[in-house]
Point group: C2
Chain length 392, copies 2
């Protein structure tokens, strides 16, 4: 497969937008990514659009991407809608990567978009709960906070970590988020505030759960051949997709629920394809939908030893300035989680880091970053896990 570079990225702020449509959010992120790449809508040869619940919340499924991109004049070219729960945006980028890597196209747009605020959080929660096997588990009533609370209980019992250590992940990510203008919860929080916030599913308090968000993020990718003919805008280095892996869930893959075998597999495949190891990473954006998720995922991906993450966070190893900053953008806990947009937002943040454009959260000399996005649940394991390794 040919080498593929990310030429441009863009995103909307993540927030509760009470007057904006998914169409307006999707258009804003797409235009930002095109401008960042110095390209026009007419340059796009193929597009992939990721979304999770616009069908359930707005009755707009099937041709969502066509509806959004037509407003930008992106017509005639192939547009394909992809749905992989919280990995929908990642999957859009992955398909764009494959389409350009195949040699069929030179320039592709990947867009992830989600509008979750519909004036009724119960309806939103019900829609999000659909990221499971509805015919079997869907009827059991295990929501995602409940699912992750069970994992937290098992993990805490196994490794003897404390609620304070759980809370510290949220404190860290909020402290990172303070430096990022796109973040929904842009405020500093203390361990005490995290622990005393409303209990959602014991031991997870409100500040250990990512907020419900609206937003969109996009990326423009192109082939090395195209870059030779049409250099990106001066001052913007390409960021290379060194690897993309995607794994999917099953009954039989699990050792115990304090570890995610499928995420381990996705990490291993990505590191192998990129020819780098976890020690070579300068940072990682990891899917911290709940504070406990950052523990399991960092360990399953091989970034930290199983059971060690609580102490690593206590020592500041996972903070900006530490050995391996995790979620320098603020992560889902601070930034918010517009489901279908999240995977591409992680990539946008990573590209800014690798181009030295991350502003106050810039990691000096960052050369290699990992983004990890997971979604859905089947039989207690992740249904979809996507990993990208990006290099400048």
């Amino acid at each position: 497969m040919r080498e593929v570079a990310i030429m441009g990225v863009g995103m909307t702020p993540f927030d509760k937008f009470t007057e904006r449509s998914f169409k307006s959010l999707g258009a804003e992120a797409s235009i930002a990514a095109l401008r960042d790449a110095g390209l026009k809508p007419q340059n796009i040869q193929v597009a992939y659009v990721g979304n999770a619940v616009a069908g359930l919340l707005f009755g707009q499924s099937m041709i969502l991407g066509q509806v959004i991109l037509r407003e930008l004049g992106i017509v005639g070219v192939p547009i394909t809608n992809v749905e992989n729960a919280c990995g929908s945006g990642s999957s859009a980028l992955r398909e764009a990567w494959i389409a350009v890597g195949s040699g069929l196209y030179d320039v592709a747009l990947a867009l992830g978009v989600e509008k979750l605020h519909v004036g009724d959080l119960a309806r939103t929660t019900a829609a999000l709960s659909g990221a499971t096997d509805m015919e079997t588990e869907g009827g059991l009533g295990l929501t995602f906070p409940g699912h992750w609370a069970l994992k937290a209980k098992v993990y805490m019992a196994k490794y003897g970590i404390t609620a304070k250590q759980l809370a510290l992940v949220s404190v860290k990510n909020h402290s990172h988020g303070l430096l990022n203008p796109y973040v929904q919860h842009q405020k500093s929080v203390t361990v005490e505030e995290v622990l005393s916030s409303r209990m959602i599913a014991d031991p997870l308090t409100a500040l250990m759960c990512c907020p419900i968000s609206d937003g969109a993020a996009a990326a423009v990718v192109c082939s090395r051949e195209y870059l030779r003919r049409f250099p990106v805008r001066p001052g913007k280095s390409p960021v290379w997709i060194a690897a993309s892996s995607l794994t999917t869930g099953s009954y039989d893959d699990q050792r115990d629920i304090s570890f995610n075998d499928l995420e381990e597999l996705a990490g291993r495949e990505a590191f192998q394809a990129a020819g780098v190891g976890p020690n070579e990473l300068d940072f990682a954006e990891v899917h911290d939908c709940f504070a406990i998720a950052e523990f399991l995922r960092c360990e399953s991906l091989g970034l930290f030893e199983p059971g060690s993450y609580g102490w690593a966070v206590e020592k500041g190893e996972a903070a900006l300035g530490g050995r391996l900053p995790i979620n320098p953008s603020g992560g889902l806990l601070a930034k918010g989680h517009p489901v279908g947009a999240t995977g591409l937002a992680q990539v946008a943040e990573a590209v800014w880091q690798l181009r030295g454009e991350a502003g106050k959260s810039q990691i000096e000399g960052a050369r290699i970053g990992l983004t990890h996005c997971s979604g859905g649940g089947i039989a207690g394991d992740t249904a979809v896990c996507s990993v990208f390794i990006l290099k400048r």
Copy 2:
């Protein structure tokens, strides 16, 4: 891009299934395609699953493919759900083609599945009506039968064709469908019966509209390199994907509503990529969701001259045994239209023709076939148009 062959195809009968789930239908088609290829679920390296309205009808969106394929033991590998209205199944195959063509994978599964009978046809119709821009046109109440009735009126006025000529398309496709065991409406109909069946949207009667159907279809594709190492089962020749094109809709693409510019573009791109012309086709499966659609589409694709199709059908040119058989399988009008499955069912039928396995509807010596699938509507034009050219 590498050459990609279809090694196996399979489908369920298309019918009204009052006791079967989309999971059961999807599994049956996948197993049939795997058996046809002589492969096992463990051989599948990547999968794409197309569906249009399971989210709206069953609340099962986001991870539909993972849910179905897990039951077959297809786990760990990348599975991506694609949604492109009636082109969902085609788009699944297209992504499988690109993934194998890119060199990333050697064996891919594409599945299209749809369950439309939910005990309430109004709810099904409402869901299907969502294949438009819901924010603007969705509120206008123009259903698909209404949309095609308007096109029929314009076309009939422009070219002077009669209701009898419209009916003859349905008579032809039902006569083809009589030869095909997978067909939902397996009965012979006369011009009189078509014209006197219930009026749905003037001039389209019930027998000029495809039935509401449940079903699934699947294909297994592989690289030429894989075929060299692991030949397909003796007696099963590979069928090559000579071209796949996909175009998407817009306001500005239309000359008038009796012609589909985007479908013309999809046809032109496919013929160019395959290096063949319309005259070299031995047959075509064309998206005849309504009798009038077969006129517009055959003409837009360049298979017949604009305005000529009614007379071509009268002369038998588009029937089995004629100059260019259109919908030898019975088409959507006889076979039924489980939306997300249709594009892959067309491909399954085409593969059987090209392998000489089409039974009573076999076209002697068929070497090149075209399949065409279109879906959704934006501003009076098709939202998605997919064309494959297949060669033995």
